[in-house]
Symmetry: C2
């Protein structure tokens, strides 16, 4: 049985959504959930939800400490061995869990995963891969913020890992992979993109060209590769702008009595759009490249979001995501070495 | 009287919106518009609009050639001396016009302005500054695409020029200036941002901190500074996502008969949002840092957009934008030199 460690107090809403999501996952997915965090708080939450004893397929690992959100993640992770996120990574590292999920501080989760699990052999920079709602469904954007400055070789590895992820989790046989850039011509872009694109056809992914800003949310490309600076801005901007558009519409509706009636009648349509663009439904953001399955859920995750993140984690374990990425990266070592040498010579 | 050269055939819709916008500007703004392009086509368009002779404050400069959109802009500009955009820049250079406006190829306009007008003394890299609709009004984003790779000194100069622009055109006394980054802490970001932010308080602008992706469209910051790669992606993504949101809402509305009625009743509210987010209303994107007033209008500009771009151009001339930027850049030469030296030493 697949065992998933869950940072039980991670996220903005404490134990409640985590424990509820865990209960649902244990019941519906046939996996074991290890709730990691302050045991007393977890037991209290379970009791509140009607469970005076531990439910089937639920266990607890006591981890009394928490990461200080305001402090430097690397220092926090190094000094707090009994922080829940550190214990989660440790459980995976020593084989007591097959994966971990956390809705806590994403920087701390990244560092805990890196320190606790290390990197897959040959991977230079693990990345945060973020599923992003689009017109047609969902695209994977990576890196979404782990590496602010990248080299071409990093982007090429992101492409390989992101493509594998979309195969495993979204069952897309040949995910379309694009590089985020300016202008459609492959000769345009910044230094990083110009030095990445020429190698995109050497790494065995279905490279379909560069992707302009206006096409980020169409869903035409399954995997969009960029550095973590651009990726983080794009991701947060998409979230922010969608909210601002809704606020603008509401503001204008409120000025018009007829429109208020109209808005009431169209409510179902708006709810559908809201649901479709809700990141909760897309199963959290995996840390790809670390040597173990690790998923970061949104800080504002509710029960559904936690359940979906746990489901994605279980899928990745079942489908041997880590093993497959390791194999692909290993088989590309020669190609990567050649590209790195050429880049180093050209600099 | 202020004289503005207009690339009369620039943009996706040919002479019509340009000539109409010019007629409106000549009538309402008390400026002279020089229509630059194929004289026969321009005269035909004027005739179609009921002017068999040249209207008051409208003149024509014949420029029979056009830039090939598919070709390399620098080469096109260098070889086609009689292309309308090249003639526009030349008119400003020789003092026959005070400013130019073009809705043609923005890359070609940038190159024509650079070749024809040169840079303001001390400006290292001219930028495209793009007004961007926000929840509260409009923010200026620069660079929006002229310089894919930038150094800190470039971003600092963009901040000075963008701030001056918002003072002149939007009458904001102390524009709030931010640097686009990831995370709110000033210590976060990529190499470029980390080396730019520490100097932001040395250049006499009202620096209010870094701006995250989610806050790009709130309107809390008047001037958002970034490199042209990130800026172009952000700008195009904002345009694209707004359209996609509307398409998503329409798709869901169509599935629900009640919602269709509701949408009809709320139509006014949607039109208001559409109008508010329409870049046509914000007067085009100035090329800041070139030694003359040059404005790029959207390729899809209609009469209103052209009129507004001409209005902005006239405002910039009237308020001595070029002179003021030149003075500020000159007064900061010592500061810039020190920053550049420090950066060079640190590299």
């Amino acid at each position: 049985m697949i065992r998933i460690a869950l940072d039980a107090l991670g996220g903005d809403f404490g134990a409640n959504p985590n424990v509820r999501g865990a209960l649902q996952a244990a019941r519906r997915l046939g996996v074991e959930i290890i709730l990691v965090g302050d045991e007393k708080i977890i037991r209290q939450e379970l009791a509140n939800l009607g469970h005076s004893t531990l439910p089937k397929h639920i266990s607890i690992v006591h981890a009394p400490n928490v990461i200080d959100m305001g402090a430097e993640p690397a220092k926090e992770v190094r000094t707090k061995k009994d922080a829940s996120i550190v214990v989660c990574a440790e459980l995976v590292h020593k084989g007591a869990a097959d994966a971990f999920v956390s809705a806590g501080h994403s920087g701390a989760a990244m560092v805990a995963a890196l320190f606790g699990l290390g990197r897959i052999k040959g991977v230079l920079r693990p990345a945060i891969a973020s599923p992003m709602p689009t017109y047609q469904g969902v695209s994977l954007l990576l890196d979404a913020g782990a590496n602010a400055d990248c080299k071409p070789i990093h982007l090429l590895q992101f492409a390989v890992m992101g493509s594998t992820y979309m195969q495993k989790v979204f069952d897309i046989e040949k995910p379309k992979v694009g590089v985020l850039s300016i202008g459609e011509e492959e000769t345009k872009g910044n230094y990083l993109v110009k030095h990445t694109v020429p190698h995109m056809r050497e790494i065995g992914v279905n490279f379909t060209g560069t992707v302009e800003g206006r096409d980020v949310n169409t869903g035409d490309t399954d995997v969009i590769v960029c550095d973590g600076f651009v990726g983080n801005i794009v991701l947060k901007m998409a979230e922010g702008l969608a909210k601002i558009m809704i606020r603008m519409i509401k503001r204008e509706v409120k000025k018009r009595p007829l429109a208020i009636c109209g808005a009431l009648l169209s409510k179902g349509a708006f709810s559908a759009v809201k649901k479709h663009t809700n990141p909760d439904n897309y199963g959290g953001a995996p840390l790809v490249g670390v040597n173990g399955v690790a998923i970061i859920a949104h800080g504002k995750s509710n029960e559904v979001a936690i359940f979906n993140a746990l489901k994605t984690a279980s899928k990745l374990v079942k489908k041997n995501f880590i093993g497959d990425v390791a194999d692909k990266i290993a088989s590309l070592q020669g190609v990567f070495a050649k590209i790195e040498a050429a880049e180093a010579a050209g600099e």
